[in-house]
Subunit: 719 residues, 2 copies
């Protein structure tokens, strides 16, 4: 019997061995409504979903209903060759592709080649980025996710197959001026360097539907605590408790809101590599200090990177559960191993979480290659360097959130790497790169990558730049100044200090809107900050403009790409078009429909390109016709647990409209057990043509923090 | 019996399967004196040496003698994990690493990470280059070659192992200003994405010895025909036969030497993709035209890229032997298949080689990714896209040279990609990139990569730039203007036309020296143009200079590399230090010993850094004490077969010296059958302190083209 088993195993291996280079017919299984899975080759045991532990939001997916399989199945092809997986998806003429991770310069990905690789952003959209999610969205209304923790190479409509049914025109370069160095390609081709991978297809019918299905399949977006949506200041890296105290006093004195303070490396006794314990000189009484700040309504967030100093108290204990290589002479915990997690996170829990620390900024889990473990690193769990690189950001998010979830306290932090499967983690991506325009493009792309991104403000050359950056960050997932190195304050540029304060107060006033939009990310999978390309009525085709340069400088006569990378949707109703330093006016592409100025309620246009000159104190923001924005008073801190807040509901335009205002306790995970409600805000036109607003009654027994509700019809009498 | 075989195969596979992640002890076999080979894992059948078909020059290697195995064997480690090969080599403190392909900005490679990948050069030394040879040379006098046709990742002294015997100092970044983001690493680690690879170690004792062994093992350098060392002009891409004729007339009239003319894409009836046949409009009588040019002493070299137009006469025939993807809508011949080679090269032979065409420029066999076949391409021979990418340059060189070798006519051409194993091919690497300084750094690195490189001149903004570029290209493997797009001529900048002509005449006068140096490349493996780092008495340590920038701009306080990348050795005795546009003076690092000005014979220094201001008409060139440079009259074309040439022998400095002057028929491969000789040029000091030169008698029965020999003692009376 044992011999037979042996033989059967042998046969299996031999057959497997000779299946080399065979084409495979994919078998698509619907795993949730509108979501299909197929196994190419033999998928590996460890993949992005294993790493993230993502669990689909089943009810929300069911509520979205069924969808048609969005692609011709016979045109999706797979072959396993030489131990690698070759995938192929068809492209239609005019179809656009978005996604493939957190790109910083481009939105349209058709025509691009990417090797998806977790890394710092090096200035080029080549697949190396903090979040190289192997997920793409088609303008034709579907998404494809490749669930592999490998460096996947994507040819997104670049390669031309000899057997193509839509071959490019053959031209003679000697004589034909229409010759192009980039002939038409009708296929996305993908190389997964493993013997198999799970492939998921997400149905539409719209691109936003596909994104929603992807996000919900990965657990939905995170719901931050209310305080997470306030303002946060990260202080200089060597600040002492007393310095922090003074900083908080100064915020209070000057009337700038402040919800959490980030302590940078100096809170630890040693850093790079870290001890993960408080520095007794700079923070002699961490417990008392943390409580003192909490009592003032200010939370603490601590910087770490996970690399363990030999001087850490648990260094010897964790050593067997760390990788073969060190990072800045620190050991690399193998978070795939329970032992490693127990030892590492116990230190954080006992020393920090249990005394009231509210979250972490987890740095340098992305790269870059010169510091991180190499691909030849090995880990005791058996993961390779590559697998660990692709998933370390997921692992640190997953297991650090666990600390807070176990205590039923929400957290909201920062992390520098994530990947597919990471949608639900309460972390915002950031980086060291500091190009304001590219930061906005990243914000756009974050909605395709299943993550949140902050265009953090660190320093600036001028007050103008400072204010422009602040305006952008206020309309982003996390409103933050990161002064770890510069020591900047919101008021560092006196000439714009008042305008900066106004922006922060606006952030606070808009908290009911932001909070409701995050709830929709969580419960419905709609990214709160997202690409225009996910908005109905927005048309943005990639334009290729023939360059004027000579063949001497441009030997292949390559065209220059023109695309819109500097405006985005913020929540259900707002279109944000940031101004950049040096700019006095800009173009804004308005989708179909009627759009109104956020500040005045004035009609500005629709289905057209407008040019605006808003002045230095304003960031251009436009509201869709019928848009409803719930706001609250400009408080200095987010409402605390149980605090009742008055709501001013703004309505824009002439159309009737509605909005779902979210409410819960703001700090715990009880919403997962149904302890929340959506209140319906409705504006109707009365018989005499007047607009009238109403709010649905609160659900009995559910958290209810809504105080008095007032209505403001911003476009009343305007037109 | 059959069953037993089956079982034994099964057992083999099963054992192999379970050998996953096992460390392997390497078994080193001496394959030639001073060269050792080990097999890591199970090397693939197809590798760089298979592709190139390189055959060692056994006698030359034997003549070099034995060497000690240069590394502690126990510190060379290999593991096969997850189907990939992990290699590890030790590094000593202070040891420098050079090589890993044709880099354009850096010479020192310790501290760098490279993924060796045939590609166009994209502006960054990251392993993607025209020639990513997996060969490195240590300043401690040895070389390592990894014979794999895969994308190899190299961590050249960057990664830090937990089990290192020389760990970096652990520092606290909070307080220690000596903290560095690049801790000390004592190891080169290599990832070969295959289940095995051959590894070769080349002994010293000097770095040049290791380079020589590598080159000889790969067949020695190519010996170009004499005409290959003259001047070559590549004419505008749409030139007609008559345009070419006029161009040649103009060269003659103005007294500029000219040995071969390059015809760019327009010689073909169609290009990109190509038909590989003459355009009947521009070249109505190719046979007569080629002969006419040959009669004038001017050869023709034809541009091609190997991608076959559907309009090529042999398109249908070759189709089954082409890859799955097209390049610019052209089919990609699978040159690993004899059928493909027969069809493709027959066309070239019958249409071009047999009527007297002297060689090819083979373009775009490197990349870049957007045009070439993707890694998911497949080829009928079974090679993967990756293997074909890494070796296509080798294959086109190998099989195109065969056409000429079969006819016993030497060729000398251009190619845009090569790799390890390609040393012997009579091709020079070039590219589209056009940075003069970086071109010189590439020239330096070509000597580590086993290739020749030309810093071709195309266009310039000013006469100064034009002349400076010409000066560099005259002291390089191929003296070329490439006017394919610009239509420039040597005299395009009238203000420096005379100086340019003087440089070209100098190139011609130095032909006996260049030819002898190429012979030493072929017979002894010494690169004719090479890094200072291969020169005894030259000390160049990589310096890391702390940058002054703030943490805001440089968050990891990264140091800036300082290294010498702008001077090189040309042949046995010359040190060349090019001047760059805008420069009025420059520093030159002179190795130990005494050095003399090439033009005047004046002593300039030794073992020191000098600053020189040579004026616009001179490129700084210095001669080693005792240096001997054989020169000839400034002819308009290289000597033809059997033509006798007078030699002027220049001697520099005060020391006695000698030089081996090479001679053969200049055009055939008969030298491979011994039809050549080296004549010994000797300078001795007579009793009265005078210098006296002599030449050894010619070997009877061997080719002898040396006419009258005169001697010129350049530093006589000077000091």
């Amino acid at each position: 019997m044992r011999f037979l088993r042996f033989l059967s195993l042998s046969c299996f291996i031999i057959l497997h061995f000779f299946s080399y280079a065979k084409a495979q017919t994919l078998s698509w299984q619907q795993v949730e409504p509108g979501i299909w899975k197929a196994e190419a080759g033999e998928p590996e045991e460890y993949d992005l979903l294993t790493a993230s532990g993502a669990e689909p939001r089943l009810a929300a997916l069911a509520a979205m209903g069924e969808a048609d399989f969005p692609l011709p199945k016979q045109d999706i092809k797979v072959r396993i060759i030489d131990g690698e997986t070759y995938l192929r998806f068809p492209l239609q003429r005019g179809e656009q592709i978005y996604g493939f991770g957190l790109n910083f310069k481009t939105v349209h990905q058709r025509g691009r080649i990417l090797r998806l690789h977790v890394d710092h952003y090096g200035g080029e959209d080549n697949g190396r980025t903090h979040v190289p999610t192997p997920f793409c969205i088609s303008s034709n209304g579907y998404g494809v996710f490749i669930n592999s923790a490998r460096y996947i190479t994507v040819y997104a409509g670049t390669a031309v197959r000899k057997d193509s049914e839509h071959p490019p025109v053959v031209r003679d370069r000697n004589t034909d001026s229409d010759w192009t160095s980039r002939p038409y390609s009708d296929v996305v081709e993908v190389l997964v360097p493993a013997e198999g991978a799970e492939i998921y297809v997400f149905g539409g019918p719209t691109p936003l539907d596909a994104v929603r299905r992807y996000n919900l399949f990965n657990g939905g977006g995170p719901l931050p605590p209310r305080w997470g949506l306030g303002f946060t200041q990260r202080v200089h890296r060597l600040f002492t408790a007393d310095d922090v105290r003074k900083e908080a006093n100064e915020f209070e004195k000057r009337g700038y809101p402040l919800d959490f303070i980030g302590l940078e490396p100096g809170w630890q006794s040693k850093s790079y590599p870290g001890t993960f314990e408080w520095d007794q000189g700079r923070f002699p009484h961490p417990k008392e200090f943390t409580q003192e700040m909490l009592d003032r309504g200010i939370r603490l967030n601590l910087w770490i990177n996970p690399y363990v100093s030999p001087d850490a108290s648990f260094a010897e204990e964790i050593e067997p559960y760390t990788g073969s290589h060190t990072v800045w002479a620190g050991m690399v915990p193998d978070f795939r191993m329970e032992q490693s997690r127990d030892i590492f996170f116990s230190q954080l829990e006992e020393d920090q979480v249990d005394i009231g620390v509210s979250g972490y900024k987890i740095d340098e889990v992305d790269g870059y290659d010169h510091w991180l473990w190499p691909d030849v690193a090995t880990f005791p769990s058996g993961l390779t360097g590559e697998q660990m690189r692709q998933t370390y950001g997921l692992l640190v998010q997953r297991y650090s959130e666990d600390m807070f979830e176990e205590r039923n306290r929400r957290t909201f932090g920062l992390v520098r790497a994530s990947n597919g499967g990471g949608t639900s983690f309460p972390y915002v991506i950031y980086n060291d790169y500091y190009n304001h325009r590219n930061f906005i493009t990243a914000l756009i792309n974050s909605s395709f990558a299943g993550v949140l991104w902050t265009p953090e403000v660190r320093a600036s050359d001028t007050g103008e730049e400072w204010l422009r950056r602040v305006q952008s960050v206020v309309f982003s997932p996390m409103a933050m100044i990161n002064a770890w190195s510069s020591g900047t304050k919101p008021w560092s540029f006196p000439e714009v200090a008042d305008e900066v304060r106004e922006m922060f107060l606006l952030r606070m006033r808009m908290m009911p809107y932001w909070y409701s939009e995050y709830a929709k990310y969580h419960f419905k999978g709609i990214p709160p900050f997202r690409a225009m390309n996910l908005e109905e009525g927005f048309s943005s085709n990639l334009k290729m403009e023939q360059a004027e340069t000579s063949l001497e400088e441009n030997p292949y006569a390559e065209a220059v790409r023109q695309e819109i990378t500097d405006q985005y949707m913020a929540g259900q109703y707002l279109l944000v078009a940031p101004m950049f330093e040096g700019q006095e006016s800009r173009e804004v592409v308005l989708p179909e429909g009627r759009w109104y100025d956020f500040y005045t309620g004035d009609y500005v246009g629709g289905g057209e390109v407008i040019t605006v000159s808003p002045g230095l104190d304003k960031i251009p923001v436009y509201v869709k016709d019928g848009g409803i924005i719930p706001m609250m008073p400009a408080m200095m801190h987010a409402p605390e647990l149980g605090q009742t807040v008055d709501i001013e509901v703004r309505h824009y335009g002439q159309r009737e409209g509605s909005y779902r205002l979210y409410d819960d306790d703001g700090t715990t995970y009880d919403y997962e057990d149904g302890e929340y409600q959506f209140r319906e805000l409705t504006v109707i036109k009365t018989r005499d043509g007047k607009l009238k607003g109403s709010i649905s009654p609160p659900e009995p027994g559910k958290p209810n923090t809504v105080g008095e509700v007032t209505w403001k019809f911003m476009s009343q009498g305007v037109e």
